[in-house]
């Protein structure tokens, strides 16, 4: 009985999502680009790190569809392999931030009290302080690197999810089914994580999607400044980093237009998908 209802709700949501044109467009963009990243070795014969000084800064040709960069590396190969890291950084940071936010939000919303007051203040601080400056400061202390970056993104990006989850817990903890759970003698932890948490997950899923877009932008900005992922590793931001020089902007458009368009397109797709998801899962927002 319960299973049937569950599947029909899931089916209904799936139908709604399928009919939402923006969400479908977004999903197709994300899926195609992720697939291209996964299948990178099949799509390009080049190694993204292979330096070929004889073929430096070549314009697009049949051999190199998007040309080569200052070290003779194939731009298309770097874009495809770079997609792997950029997407993984964006997604892992969003998941990490959402995890921190959800756990803190659970405790804060369920128990209230001084912990809630302090955490609310702290989250306000994180929300109002410009994130890029906070990230820069942390980069000074932790150093550059893929894992450091994910860690820094996660600990600076939890406040939005925290507030969402906290607000839901605040209203849900007064529901009669929670009272019933208590009356049955179910433990607090079990009530929190097994009975209330599942009801807060749909806005969290939406915020993970939108956060992924934000972190991909943040990574590209930081790498563009030369302070993100170490410059030898291909990510979308590191590829467009070449365009910090005016002569590259002027003479070698293939070095900055493809990565710029790629980042914009992926973030656009993620935002579309996230907005569509919100319409379906969270109609009252």
């Amino acid at each position: 009985m319960q299973a049937a209802e569950k599947s029909s709700l899931a089916m209904r949501n799936w139908e709604k999502l399928r009919r939402n044109r923006l969400a479908v467009t977004g999903f197709v963009i994300i899926a195609l680009m992720s697939l291209a990243a996964i299948l990178a070795p099949l799509l390009t014969p080049y190694d993204p790190g292979a330096v070929n000084l004889a073929k430096r800064v070549q314009p697009p040709s049949w051999a190199h569809l998007l040309g080569t960069d200052k070290l003779g590396r194939d731009v298309l190969a770097r874009l495809l392999y770079g997609a792997r890291l950029s997407i993984v950084i964006g997604l892992c940071s969003a998941l990490g931030g959402a995890l921190i936010g959800t756990v803190l939000g659970c405790f804060s919303g369920y128990f209230g009290g001084w912990f809630d007051k302090v955490m609310l203040r702290v989250s306000e601080l994180f929300m109002t302080f410009p994130q890029i400056i906070l990230i820069l400061i942390l980069v000074v202390f932790f150093g550059q690197g893929v894992f450091n970056l994910i860690f820094i993104f996660a600990i600076t990006g939890w406040s939005g999810t925290y507030r969402l989850v906290r607000a839901r817990f605040f209203s849900l903890r007064q529901e009669s089914y929670v009272e019933a759970c208590r009356a049955f003698g179910i433990g607090e932890a079990s009530i929190m994580f097994k009975h209330i948490l599942p009801n807060t997950l749909s806005p969290v899923i939406v915020s993970i999607t939108l956060m992924t877009a934000g972190f991909i932008l943040a990574e590209s900005g930081l790498s563009f400044l030369g302070l993100g992922v170490p410059s030898g590793i291909p990510t979308w931001g590191n590829i467009i980093n070449a365009a910090k020089a005016i002569d590259v902007i002027q003479n070698n458009p293939w070095l900055w237009i493809p990565p710029g368009v790629t980042i914009s397109l992926f973030v656009l797709g993620t935002n579309f998908f996230g907005d569509g998801l919100r319409d379906v899962l969270d109609p009252n927002q």
């Binding site: 109002t128 890029i132 820069l136 563009f224 302070l227 902007i249």
Partner: protein, 321 residues
């Protein structure tokens, strides 16, 4: 009226504990960072001279004193504008800031002015002509504003307006022979527009949303049905009420604008605080990083104070208690 004054004084005073907290955090950060604090407290030429007695100096400066006494000394210096010295080239941080801060403020205020006027205007047009070509164009612009990285917008702008068309200078802040602000305004146009791009998009979406909300309200229908001309309904009845949330969003996003200057200054070679912070981060110049952070934190606090102030002034329902 006296209530209003009392409320603002109270709100303003309540910032002070937060300011102190920020200052304590910055001091702790400076204490915890690696490196000898002497290196950024003494001008390097003095530190380098042969007859300089470091132990005596430490004693004289109170560096052998307990941490809390050191804190008060540092705090006293801070109040007098002594911000310490850079680890990299030994220049006084106060002097560096005096050179760099005006440029950043100029850029941020220009971006703020342009994007608030442009964003609210476009949003207004979109809401009045809902589902028209203009509205769709604006919606597309709004989506691009949150999806395209600002440095990419900047690079495209340089390619189009500076290199291809040659209308505007590629980078920098002051040209040869420029004297007044208006001489060098051509340098400001691109960075300000690009920095304000995402804020413009956000404001536009938001203005459109709140305007559509208000235009559906009963009092707007009443105003229309009593025969007021449409422009009067829109400006006097709808826009006034739609404006408040928009202004709040605007002030709320001020810190973001300050953060955005870091990237935009790098794209356009704008000689502001963002570049200074960036250099300091790459060189692990802790004192400079910390002082910049402190400044940004002050700006954030100021912005949050402004939010309260504007809410109180714009919304008569806010009580002054």
């Amino acid at each position: 009226m006296r209530d209003v004054f009392k409320y603002f004084t109270f709100r303003f005073l309540s910032i002070i504990p937060m300011l102190l907290l920020v200052i304590v955090i910055i001091f702790a950060g400076l204490q915890l960072t690696p490196g000898d604090p002497l290196a950024y407290m003494i001008p390097p030429e003095q530190l380098g001279s042969a007859d300089f007695d470091i132990e005596a100096y430490k004693k004289a400066m109170g560096l052998d004193a307990p941490v809390y006494i050191q804190f008060f000394q540092w705090f006293g210096d801070l109040l007098q504008g002594e911000l310490g010295f850079s680890l990299v080239d030994g220049s006084a941080i106060s002097k560096m800031l005096a050179n760099r801060l005006p440029a950043t403020l100029e850029l941020a205020f220009a971006a703020l002015a342009v994007s608030s006027v442009l964003g609210i205007l476009l949003g207004l047009v979109s809401s009045i002509r809902q589902n028209s070509a203009v509205d769709y164009g604006n919606t597309a612009l709004g989506v691009l504003g949150i999806s395209v990285p600002e440095f990419f917008v900047g690079i495209i702008a340089i390619q189009v307006f500076a290199i291809t068309l040659g209308w505007l200078p590629v980078s920098g802040r002051i040209g040869y022979g420029d004297v007044t602000f208006f001489d060098r305004i051509d340098y400001l146009v691109m960075p300000a527009l690009v920095l304000g791009f995402s804020l413009t998009a956000a404001l536009m979406r938001y203005t459109r949303g709140t305007m559509l909300d208000v235009l559906g309200k009963d009092y707007v229908k009443t105003a229309r049905s009593k025969g007021l001309p449409e422009w009067k309904v829109i400006t006097k009845h709808a826009f006034r009420n739609a404006l408040m949330p928009v202004v709040l969003l605007l002030v709320f996003r001020l810190p973001l604008l300050i953060g955005g200057t870091v990237i935009i200054e790098s794209v356009f070679g704008w000689p502001g605080m963002g570049g200074m912070l960036l250099d300091a981060v790459s060189a692990k110049d802790y004192p400079v990083v910390m002082i910049c952070t402190m400044l940004v934190a002050f700006m954030v606090l100021l912005a949050s104070f402004l939010v309260d102030l504007l809410t109180a002034l714009l919304d008569p329902r806010v009580r002054f208690e």
